[in-house]
């Protein structure tokens, strides 16, 4: 298993797709920074316009914590799409290059091989989110400084700087679980579809449908609470004024179970399928 994982790390490091993905995430971050730098004050002025009639404001809301929150919002679509494209390539490239047959001619168990792919997808996702978090922290706090965070989720919620930082860290942790789920799902899709271009389309469709179902009322309470599209926004709950830690914990645990379920399904199918 160790040799398989080592080989996977090497493949990931060698392929240009990995670096394109990292560069894409950095570009998204930079665009957010530039927009916030030039337009952040205007948006906040618009947001707080009514309140300015009744209140004097002391302190600034355009700060590192707000930028971190805006960057976190790229977890809705941009980041998972990039992650799904790269991680699905871990399997589809093997089919495309015919290396799968070569590997299977060795004394390698199929389930171990595909499990190594899943582990690598999880590892890559965690590394990407950690890098994203670290780079954003450094840039956001060095350019915009610290300060209270304002978030609009049904009500205008204000959090003190230290509390906001704490919530953002947990949101990144919860968001990582959601991103891992997308990566695991993309590997499973790749096992089904095999072709890389078709898998990318399927991955994008999966992402869109998941986002659409997030808002849809599914009628049955258990589906509305625990169907996977309803769990991918759990990180957002960290920005409710009253945080329900139990719900956040349960949601993440259920999402991890979904990850295991998708991985088990993919492994089972890969074992059953012919390699050719």
């Amino acid at each position: 298993m160790r040799a398989l994982l080592r080989a996977e790390v090497l493949k990931l490091l060698k392929q240009s797709k990995t670096y394109y993905a990292l560069a894409a995430i950095l570009v998204i971050e930079l665009l957010i920074f530039i927009t916030a730098y030039y337009q952040g004050s205007t948006i906040l002025d618009l947001l707080l316009d009514n309140l300015k009639q009744s209140f004097y404001f002391e302190g600034t809301l355009l700060n590192g914590n707000l930028i971190m929150y805006i960057v976190l919002n790229s977890l809705w679509f941009n980041v998972p799409l990039i992650l799904m494209i790269v991680t699905s390539g871990l399997v589809t490239d093997e089919y495309k290059d015919g290396t799968l047959q070569t590997v299977m001619l060795q004394a390698v168990k199929k389930w171990k091989f595909i499990l190594a792919k899943y582990i690598m997808a999880v590892f890559f996702t965690v590394v990407v989110i950690a890098l994203m978090m670290l780079s954003t922290f450094i840039l956001a706090y060095s350019i915009f400084g610290k300060g209270d965070l304002v978030v609009y989720i049904n009500t205008l919620n204000f959090f003190k700087s230290a509390d906001a930082f704490h919530r953002i860290c947990w949101a990144f942790a919860s968001g990582t679980v959601a991103m891992v789920f997308y990566s695991v799902a993309s590997i499973t899709l790749a096992i089904f579809i095999k072709d890389s271009a078709k898998t990318w389309i399927a991955a994008a469709l999966f992402l869109i449908i998941t986002n659409l179902l997030l808002k849809a009322d599914l009628g049955i309470p258990i589906f509305n609470n625990y169907f996977f599209p309803k769990l991918i926004d759990t990180w957002q709950q960290l920005f409710y004024f009253e945080t329900n830690w139990l719900t956040i914990g349960v949601n993440n645990a259920v999402l991890i179970l979904y990850c295991l379920g998708f991985a088990a399904t993919g492994t089972y199918l890969f074992n059953k399928k012919d390699i050719g």
């Binding site: 948006i43 947001l47 009514n50 309140l51 209140f55 002391e58 302190g59």
Partner: protein, 217 residues
């Protein structure tokens, strides 16, 4: 003879004008005017239906005739009207008062008066003041302005003969927020019916003052 008559008329008008301002209010105003400067720590609790904000603290600095200054390490929202507990804005232009009798509130017998401005420059339309004449303090006020809506102030004082309140509760009308769509969290639900119902709401800000440092003139 005509000149003497005019002089008498002016004198009577002057007396009449003076009588139109409540003596207790003048006594309280005089007492308030003795505060030349003060600094204090203020602990703020905002109570607005669509805003959730933790308790905040700020330092305020007041100097007579100057704009109130405040500073805080947090982001704070201070009411534009609620901090004027010296009621300088009301007393800025000439006014008359109308005695409305007495009323018992908070277990105290309070004298109620209306303050009506006589100068068109005043933003004040009408103020109702509830005065504790024995302690020489204003306990409550309801202020209707021409441009800045209506607000009310409830003031509580620490035991003793303090001039400045230890607790002030300012109530005011506040319009609903207009949120840019790109600022909304994805989890945000837009309930148009509810939003229409929230066009204008009453907000409150509760302020507790500590560590007063008052300089009297």
């Amino acid at each position: 003879m005509r000149f003497a008559f005019l002089l008498l008329l002016t004198f009577i008008a002057g007396i009449a004008q003076a009588q139109k301002v409540d003596a207790d209010l003048l006594r309280i105003k005089q007492r308030m005017d003795s505060v030349k400067q003060f600094t204090a720590k203020v602990i703020l609790d905002l109570d607005v239906p669509f805003i959730k904000m933790p308790t905040k603290t700020a330092q305020i600095k007041y100097a007579k005739g100057k704009k109130m200054e405040f500073s805080s390490s947090d982001f704070v929202m201070l009411p534009k009207r609620g901090l004027d507990f010296s009621l300088n804005e009301i007393f800025k232009y000439s006014f008359i008062t109308v005695d409305r009798g007495t009323e018992t509130r908070y277990g105290k017998l309070l004298k109620v008066i209306n303050v009506i401005p006589t100068d068109n420059k005043s933003d004040l339309a009408l103020a109702t003041l509830y005065m504790d004449t024995r302690a020489g303090r204003i306990v409550e006020s309801e202020i209707n302005t021409r441009k800045n809506g209506t607000y009310s102030l409830l003031m509580q004082y620490a035991p003793g003969n303090n001039i400045l309140p230890g607790y002030v509760e300012a109530s005011f009308a506040i319009e609903r927020l207009k949120i840019p769509l790109n600022f909304m969290g994805k989890d945000t639900k837009i309930d148009r019916k509810k939003m229409r119902g929230m066009e204008t709401k009453t907000g409150k800000i509760k302020m507790r003052f500590e560590n007063y440092n008052i300089k009297l003139g």
